[in-house]
Symmetry: D2
Subunit: 109 residues, 4 copies
């Protein structure tokens, strides 16, 4: 399964089942989850911390480093999905509404 | 369109078109984008910064505050999609692989 | 008063009086304060988010931007001092002990 | 040496010597250092990520955990001192100016 064939709801279900099977719902408070997202974003940054922009642009060309970045990115995404689950936020609706607001703020040239 | 009917690839396209129309590709370096995700994660945390866990759990019951959190969460998601686009990482494959590793690390009881 | 003449304890007192005068001790829980530091670190990063390393190195040469960075840096420092106050951690002792450990980890060439 | 007897300038010197002895000045770009501070703030948050506020308030009573938090807090402080060094910002002046602005924004009751 790839991004082409997978709905956002299906990804949310993957995270939801993982949390339910471990009885982690009581820990999945929005405050804790927002911290968790920021912690994982910090771990993602570690891969680029001391690199020039040119070096950072080349990370994806190295299969091992691309894989490692994908793991950190997955952790970030998992917490976004967990927050959406815990707060019953539809990410597609929220993202599209926000992009319309962004388009007003930053008009295309 | 909701999370039920929308593929991850379709959300990636929304962000990709937005970036392309503004000629922002040169700014969308993975180093800059990882910083951007952490910045937005910080803005998301602001909504829960001084709340108790009980208060944080009630934020979703307030339509205005739920909407505001949804906006910040969308900004975070947009940067994850942008990193996936810039580095050609399939998020579904990466997330599923990571959840399998997490399941080994944290077995279901 | 400058860094030359000011002790760390004096800076801690500035923050402690500010918190005490507003009866904010109940909010100054280490969990909240660690979130606050990460939020302010995000605001600091905003000043460098889209800059090349060369451009970032020149920010200090612009008095207005240097001042703005100094404000964000102060917010970060204030939360570090607040955590030290809330948890009764001596920053000088902790920093010196950590630098000795770092020196073992990264020997000088 | 403790916070009572140590000036901010002396702590800045500890970090400056460490950087100079390793020839790390070229890496100590403000963009990289602001990322580093956010990364370390994330590691600090890990100590409180899943705790209730009551549990977080008790961390300082456990010598081992207090020590561990002190190490993370030192890493955060070291990067603030490094940014002050790299950008020649006087932290005492900046903090006092910011606290005066904060006092206007949040008057004592």
């Amino acid at each position: 399964m790839t991004d082409q064939e997978t709905t956002v709801a299906q990804l949310r279900d993957v995270v939801e089942r993982f949390v339910a099977e471990r009885n982690w719902h009581s820990f999945h408070n929005p405050k804790n989850l927002s911290m968790s997202l920021a912690i994982e974003a910090g771990e993602l940054m570690e891969h680029f911390q001391w690199l020039s922009l040119d070096e950072a642009a080349l990370v994806a060309a190295d299969p091992k480093r691309k894989h490692d970045v994908g793991e950190e990115l997955s952790d970030c995404l998992a917490y976004i999905l967990a927050i959406a689950n815990a707060m019953e936020i539809d990410l597609t609706e929220a993202l599209k509404a926000k992009m319309i607001r962004n388009a007003v703020k930053y008009p295309a040239s």
